[in-house]
Symmetry: C2
Subunit: 83 residues, 2 copies
């Protein structure tokens, strides 16, 4: 069975996000009433796994081993069956 | 009213995604049965707007004016009320 893992990796609160700050400033200069912008990264991973639970467990492992830096990153995982 | 715009900007199909390819290779080397990985970027924007519809319209404008490159990028917008 194939699963689509959507893994969003972003900075923990308190870490400086210069890309977000610049985007926020540019959007304000364009006239939008923007409070703040945070930029994060999404890994869309197509994974072979035997169940949704296994896919989720693997996704958490991947974050710890490769995708996220535990010192500075938070992550959110969404698992869907891949059509 | 404040809205949280989640704008995911990724490459259109057919565009080369070296970061996704490298991530895919590394995950396979770690033993995961990965088909493919695509990397995209999420702008989490906190915006002042009078309605959800206005927030969505503004988000589409922002994509066209700044956040996405129409030649190579696709985008997905999700609008939620900000708590």
């Amino acid at each position: 069975m194939k699963y689509h893992l959507k893994v969003e990796v972003g900075l923990k609160p308190g870490h400086s996000d210069p890309e977000g700050e610049t985007t926020s400033r540019l959007l304000r200069e364009l006239g939008y009433k923007v409070d703040r912008v945070n930029v994060s990264k999404v890994y869309n991973v197509i994974l072979e796994a035997s169940s949704r639970q296994e896919a989720l467990t693997k996704a958490e492992e991947m974050c710890k081993r490769l995708l996220a830096n535990p010192t500075k990153d938070n992550y959110i995982i969404i698992v869907e069956e891949e059509k």
